[in-house]
Subunit: 327 residues, 2 copies
């Protein structure tokens, strides 16, 4: 008997979950739920499509609902609503609002008797886990998180809002020198500018003032002003040809000292190099769905994050086999 | 009220645990237990020393006993014995015998009502955890584990047993080309020789036959024959001056494909660069001791590994704070 999964929301992340499920032996996709007209949507695997409102009539058919909406508008409401009916997983990534989101979803779960895993993915998610583990093992030390090379959706959107810009994409890139200093255990104090470069590929509208666009990007507060920013003007064809992917990644470091006189240095580095940000995130969500299902079977109730899940729950093999083969 | 820790065994690892405890705010060292004459031993922090046989009379004074003996002779017996009286942590690292060790310790714990965490450290330990997580997130892919650059105690011992060798040390070194191929997502199939180099620093006895020593090392089955091995002859002074440390480390990779047609590649890399192998291992043991104490307080009983512990148990902060600051 396989774990029966529903996908709520069918953008890049929802499609990623659909693909990720084809790589599991213990899970199956029951259907995709959308707020659009179901008949307007064709899924990659021909999975059935239902209207979002139908979900609550399908509680007997679905073990875990994976929410694939956005953190700004969808998840703050949707995760809690769905947790009335299903075990739920989301990738809520507005870091500052995670505690409040957690409390809300936890409250619903404790009434409905369901399990939720929120803020799953890689940051929040695997990066968070590595920050926690690094601090636990090396209490005296420093944390460093670098992002990229990868596409930042928020910064790409910001570029596209500038007058005279037809299209554009922004890459966040870690500064190699900063990475090397951290890897060498120098424990540097790094400014925003010293950690990341921002590289922009911009398609100007015909006759646009390129100098004005470049100036508008480089001086934009919060988004670009605190960084060294490189702007390239290219054609729409070039943008579509060379920059249509959604790669991302980055590194979490913990550098620390041990010994009675701090005489020994240690560097822990966790690094991701991802061709597809949403498909990797989907892999984490699916593993968390497995964990939620198993925790639910054991009678557990309430909201969880990756911090609260014993790792064995994420892997399809049983604990005995894991000890034998992976420990 | 702090978590009260005992250390059983006072070699490099025991000293590492003693140092690691000075970096925690929530734990204190009650004493070191030894099979030697207690008065013959002075600890780095002036912690009291007791004979190992006294431990069982101190069950009221100690919450968790951290076993710091060797996997070959001490732990197979000692962990189970101590688990009759204490929550216990060990770093048992004979991979093939872990299942049997687990069952034995689990059996004792279930009678005594204690918690054990076995095979904690970095391999087994953090490396194992990363193998598990990588497979769970990217089910279609390959695992690679590299060790080094670091000192292998077993190989150093093997060198010292050769006729004409006064002293010696062996470093295991990952082959850079192999690392690069894995990092590039090439998913190579690698032979033993392609993954690691072995570099030996040997102090010959006076008048020894250097060519014969080099030949004996390079052709030694299991230890060196399957590797490219470099042998340097140096003086005892040079060995003591340049090779007295116990550095180690390595990398665990998971490389995998996602997408309906495997069109996207991903690389996860977990890397350790450690100045002191035993002191880093000690950091993991101490974090696991915190987890064991907390699990015990919740009424949990039995043997665990890093696979079975929700990460939040390892960190001193409470879950609410962890969500706020690290997620």
């Amino acid at each position: 008997m396989k774990i029966r999964i529903g996908i709520a929301g069918y953008g890049n992340l929802g499609k990623g979950v659909e693909c990720a499920l084809t790589k599991t032996d213990d899970m199956e996709l029951v259907g995709v739920f959308t707020r659009r007209a179901p008949e307007s949507l064709t899924t990659k695997t021909n999975a059935p499509v239902f209207h979002m409102d139908e979900a609550k009539n399908m509680t007997d058919a679905i073990d875990v609902m994976i929410l694939c909406g956005g953190s700004a508008n969808d998840l703050p409401r949707q995760t809690a609503e769905m947790a009335e009916y299903f075990n739920v997983i989301d990738s809520f990534d507005t870091h500052a609002k995670i505690p409040e989101h957690f409390e809300r979803v936890d409250g619903v779960c404790r009434k409905s008797g369901k399990i939720a895993v929120i803020s799953a993915g890689w940051d929040p998610g695997m990066f968070s886990l590595n920050r926690l583990l690094g601090q636990a093992i090396l209490p005296e030390g420093n944390d460093y998180t670098f992002w990229g090379k990868g596409v930042s959706q928020g910064h790409s959107d910001a570029i596209r809002r500038i007058k005279g810009v037809a299209d554009g994409k922004q890459y966040t890139i870690p500064v190699e020198e900063a990475l090397n200093r951290v890897r060498n255990g120098e424990n540097p104090t790094l400014t925003t500018r010293q950690k990341h470069i921002r590289e922009c590929f911009v398609v100007p509208e015909e006759g646009a003032d390129l100098a004005a666009i470049e100036e508008a990007i480089k001086t934009m507060p919060n988004y670009f002003a605190d960084y060294d920013t490189i702007v390239h003007f290219i054609s729409q064809e070039e943008l579509d040809r060379d920059h249509s992917g959604i790669p991302h990644g980055g590194m979490v470091f913990r550098t620390g000292k041990t010994g009675l006189n701090n005489e020994h240095s240690h560097v822990i580095e966790y690094r991701l190099k991802l061709d597809s940000n949403p498909e990797f995130t989907a892999g984490v969500l699916v593993a968390c769905a497995r964990a939620a299902y198993r925790l639910g079977k054991e009678g557990e109730v309430g909201c969880r994050t990756i911090f609260d899940i014993a790792p064995a729950y994420l892997h399809p093999s049983d604990p005995r086999e894991l000890r034998q083969k992976l420990l």
